[in-house]
């Protein structure tokens, strides 16, 4: 037993030594870690203050509180316009249906809808919201594997552009519902390739299952089959991946024409285009950051397909193919999420507490995995709101929720942080708000900076009263209410 303990201690000491040496060597190199330029987001340091389109971010924080999301309306609109550009030589471009789930802010939806975007919804709630916002039925597409009866009835009743079907069971339900309502339902079939998501989603082309369900759907008098839908799921970073996605779809279009004499009136190519300044971190990178404090290197934004290049390729490839084959041109639909809103928003957060450790400091932020869970597994640039002349230091940026797993950045090299220093975490416009919880802390406010430079509070922070507004108090006599 003693021997075992001694051996264990030796091993542990050796491990500590190697780790320390490794840390020193690596972190010296890492301290000059490259960062993305603030200019990518219309940010710059004016004096020592980080400013957004000329406005000091610290003034926003002191006015609106912390944490805080900032929406950049101009970026939102320019992103959308990039998708909407029509490729040279073609008349019609891409119709954008924004993926509501990505960043569920009604104000953002309204801005996008006003510029002509439709709504891609995946639940009864999202369908309700699209209708509430006045989105025309012809600009709503309904995806998702769990469509409630009430939502299908509403979708059929309003005659939305397409209810996209995942499997034969859904097909039968929708036919039956349409028959009961005395209506015709406009539907699409979601198909899958081995290169993308499969599972509960859609029907595989390669097994013949997709063709078979198309055959069944076309035989149903209550259904108007309008759409061929294929959402890749796995992210698209480059032209080659997009091309192969499109060629897969177009090959199946030809098969549908040949075998069922059917041509899609709507070709829905799905979403999945990446945000250029965000990338997934590998397990190895996370481990290196955890153990050796090596920060992951930034993505190369210029290597990622832009919305405009994406749209141009989609339009050119699809329209040329339909033209060559003599098919009538379809409406071409895309359902961008992260590539449309991801980089049009960022989050401000403040250091609540500091704990010095041997080789790095813990900086406890007021936003952790409760508000920004994806930062634990994705590269998101982070900037201090004030550039100080303090020496560079490795910080582990953790959240407030009292759990060891609440770490956003394992190793972030910043001028020595102090309490109340503020940081901007970039690209919070995809899956920050969608995945947020109210774990012990309120969800934050969202302020938009409009194209005319106004600050608009588009979502209030949760108040404590709001957090218990659905609760039944005074369970027992004599309790305070």
């Amino acid at each position: 037993m003693l021997k075992f303990t001694a051996h264990k201690r030796l091993k542990s000491e050796l491990k500590t030594f190697i780790k320390a040496a490794g840390q020193q060597w690596l972190s010296t190199a890492a301290a000059q870690n490259p960062r993305l330029s603030p200019e990518l987001w219309q940010l710059e340091y004016v004096g020592n203050e980080l400013a957004f389109r000329g406005r000091a971010l610290s003034s926003l924080l002191s006015k609106w509180g912390t944490p805080l999301h900032i929406v950049d309306e101009a970026k939102l609109i320019s992103n959308l316009e990039s998708f909407q550009k029509v490729a040279d030589g073609f008349e019609d471009g891409l119709e954008v249906f924004y993926s509501y789930k990505t960043n569920p802010l009604p104000w953002v939806f309204e801005v996008l809808h006003q510029q002509g975007a439709g709504a891609e919804v995946i639940s009864e709630y999202e369908l309700w919201l699209a209708l509430k916002l006045g989105v025309p039925a012809d600009k709503i597409i309904y995806n998702g594997p769990a469509k409630s009866q009430a939502s299908l009835e509403a979708a059929i009743d309003k005659n939305i552009l397409s209810i996209n079907i995942n499997n034969a069971e859904e097909l039968d339900r929708i036919s039956a519902l349409a028959a009961a309502l005395g209506k015709t339902a406009r539907v699409g079939i979601r198909v899958t390739s081995a290169a993308g998501w499969t599972g509960q989603f859609g029907l595989p082309v390669e097994t013949g299952a997709a063709l078979e369900v198309f055959r069944q759907a076309l035989a149903q008098p209550e259904l108007s089959v309008t759409t061929l839908h294929c959402h890749r799921g796995n992210l698209i970073y480059d032209e080659d991946t997009l091309q192969s996605h499109l060629h897969f779809l177009l090959k199946f279009v030809d098969e549908l024409k040949e075998k069922l004499n059917w041509i899609p009136a709507v070709l829905d190519v799905g979403g999945s285009l990446a945000t250029p300044t965000v990338r997934y971190l590998s397990k190895k990178e996370i481990k290196l950051a955890t153990t050796f404090l090596v920060p992951p290197s930034p993505p190369e934004p210029q290597s990622v397909l832009t919305p405009q290049a994406y749209a141009e390729t989609v339009v050119r490839v699809v329209r040329s193919h339909f033209q060559q084959q003599g098919y009538p041109q379809p409406r071409i639909v895309s359902e961008p999420g992260r590539s449309l809103t991801g980089n049009s928003q960022f989050m401000l957060t403040t250091v609540q507490n500091l704990k010095h450790d041997a080789s790095f400091d813990f900086a406890v932020l007021d936003a952790g995995i409760n508000l920004a869970s994806c930062v634990a597994s994705e590269y998101h640039e982070v900037f201090p709101l004030q550039l100080k002349s303090a020496p560079m230091r490795c910080h582990r940026l953790v959240g407030p929720i009292c759990h060891m797993g609440d770490t956003l950045y394992m190793a972030s090299y910043l001028p020595q942080l102090e309490r109340q220093d503020a940081l901007a975490i970039m690209d919070s416009g995809a899956y920050f708000i969608a995945d947020a919880t109210s774990f012990a802390f309120s969800q934050p406010a969202v302020v938009a900076i409009t194209t005319s430079g106004q600050e608009v509070l588009i979502r209030k922070a949760e108040s404590f009263d709001h957090l218990v507004s659905l609760d039944h108090f005074a369970a027992k006599e004599g309790q305070p209410s």
Copy 2:
């Protein structure tokens, strides 16, 4: 290129063949997978209907909707009473301070407080809620690494039992605040051992850092140092782990007495006791379930330390030590979370869609990782609400949120599920509600079955209007509000 493609296809086919053979072999054995008995939760099949304390669960679902959490008040109270039992030969037992973050339902808190439990809070919101519920200041402990200024002021002003300090910086802040308020703050120091959580939490004993901060705290006239706090974090399943946790603490008590002549008036042993019917799944188990459809085997509830055994050990070991050393007896405090409420609640969910696959079926539930994220990495028993004579079938139980990662059970063997079949997912009383998001779907209602057998709606489901109640609509003229 051709050669490469052929080789890839061969490899892929071989992989598919091996996988299929393995699946068949393993799933045949797995189909008789053992399950925990429904009786562990006062559930039983009456005829084919799953009933809870004599009440058919299907009637609850049709009355209150789906998904739905059910709180068992009797179990809640009996769990608390188990913790509160005093060990033979001792006068005073354990004081329970419920970890609010674990299952944030005010009605549940009220029940626990009425039975004498205090509140362990980690944020300004939770402190506000404890005070709102009328919890006496002497029954509130404030932990957490991100304590806001306002919350510290309130905690000092109300003179709560203990503000537990994580590091020297917090100590200085609290002293300064107390001085400014002209008050004395009751504080504790959170210490850590190598066997438990460290990181941003507390001060390590082994390096001398904990002792040093105690020394500093005792020198501050504005602080009344009442508490020695050590929360393990890593779960406690057995007596040995608990004993080693206690011995670590008591050894440090002796060091504090010897070096600083200080003895804790409050010994806060933290939480971390496991729920007996829940356990973490290893990566290997998840992989086996994913690839070969082998369901993880259930935990052995009888091998897990009960709340009563836990309390008896804590009280016996601590009181004996203080007695032997001639120290005045402390208040002994524990901060249970999952072990107190985990198994006093379960969640009902309904199949929304089915997709048949070769070796298993996807059943899409109306609750996924949006409402039950921990089920993806923990064993949680699941029961069908109706026992059908249908053949056993492997199901992959996935959620509604339109993401490949939304899987709760990789391989669950149940009589062939159909749409609208309902399931009970057990032990939803820890970190289901705390970690819940409103991702595209409303968060569900919570109904309590009281000790007198009443059904009380203790939390309403989020309505669609509630989901947008903090949003600013009509961003632009002409938009509907």
